[in-house]
């Protein structure tokens, strides 16, 4: 083996090791609060609580749990409460819902506008779908149903029974 091949192999080796040996990822806590447990079990000791937006480096996953190190101890947070990006604001998600609430008669016009935005006339769109009906009026009513923080708090206080 020539020195050139040796160096090539050495370079390849070190590059690949660097790329594959470390797979930790930064994660963010998403809901308003999350608990850190000592084991991947809700029955284990609670090491502490963190708020929405808390950033940490996960040292791995175990089923539905992500591992982290907190104050020198290994801890676990339910994966269902974490994501790779910081908590997103509601502004973006509400953008699509901010269309004016119109009556049924105006619905066709609204639908035409939405379809037009996608480069289709209402007729085009009807042709490419499977002739299945959509009910945006019912959807508007569903969107209108809101739960206030006070209602939710009262509901949660009233619960907790078997």
């Amino acid at each position: 083996m020539t020195m050139r091949r040796f160096l090539l192999a050495l370079t390849l080796c070190s590059t690949l090791f660097a790329a594959t040996a470390y797979s930790d990822e930064s994660l963010y806590v998403q809901p308003f609060r999350a608990k850190i447990y000592s084991k991947p079990s809700l029955a284990s000791e609670v090491l502490g609580q963190v708020d929405s937006g808390f950033k940490f480096v996960s040292t791995g996953r175990e089923g539905n749990w992500v591992k982290l190190v907190v104050k020198g101890k290994q801890g676990f947070i339910p994966a269902v409460q974490t994501a790779i990006n910081p908590p997103l604001g509601k502004s973006a998600a509400q953008g699509a819902e901010s269309a004016p609430k119109l009556g049924a008669r105006a619905r066709t016009a609204t639908t035409a506008v939405v379809a037009g935005m996608k480069g289709l006339t209402y007729e085009d769109r009807a042709r490419v779908t499977k002739d299945e009906l959509s009910d945006f009026e019912a959807l508007d009513k569903i969107d209108a149903l809101k739960i206030s923080p006070d209602e939710l708090k009262a509901f949660q206080l009233e619960g907790g029974k078997r």
């Binding site: 990822e25 089923g63 749990w65 269902v80 085009d124 299945e132 149903l145």
Partner: protein
Amino acid sequence: MKLMSLVYSIAVFCALQPQIILAAEESKSHDWRARSSVVDRDTYAESDTDEELVFGREIAARILGQYKVSGNEKLQKYVNLVGTTLTRNCSRPELDFHFVVIESSEINAYSTPGGYVFVTTAALSNMENEAELAGVLAHEIGHVIERHIVKELSLKGAEKSAVSSFAALIGGASKSAGIAFSQAVDKAVDIILRDGLKKEDEMQADSSAVLLCAISGYDPSGLVTFLDKVGKIKSGVGATYPVYDVRLATLQRAMSDEGIAGMKLALNTERFTKAMKTEAGPNPLDIIRKVMPGGTHDQK
């Protein structure tokens, strides 16, 4: 010379390592527990959320074109309160989830991207307590959190690729983009109402559901008792679900592993029973249907 050979061997091993890992992950993809560890945790920008919601609304409107929304506003409110209790603890705080009771004699629940969750009146009438309702809603929330439909259609977020397929599909102004959008909606509706998601997705949603229930204070056994009942009623016929006994066994093992199997948390049986007994307000359409031939149908 020996050193050179050793280094060369290590280099070859390293070069092959990604393929070895890929092969291992491929074999894991059939096991939900392993899959939840390797699941693609895409990055999503706010614009993707916006587009996901536009897509989800389109699908939800299509579902509402087929099923009638229950006119019982008190029950709708109650189901939304249970659902919101769960979503306060989940990883999509940017979404306003909506929970909808739809009239159908089929025991089922559906969810769309963007956070529209539907539960049928037949499913509700087969429940005995709020924990069972929470379990079913949490399962559907699990599909939304993990973006199962979005992934099934191979729609990627903006940060995942140079040209986001999501953005191209939803935001494209061309006629072909519009047609692709409509076809994607058709496909999503087919998956949700007819074909069902992958078995692994269902099991992943089950396992995250029991965890979400327990975190939210609901007895995690709710989903288990409900699935057990439905499995006996349907005898495994549900086209959108894996065979119930396998699903139950997997779920019970997951609950045991995660220390939630023996947890005695809230069932809220009394409150559920009371909510189910609330009278729906008079619906003029029902009065018309009574005098029309054909009677009431599940679907519109």
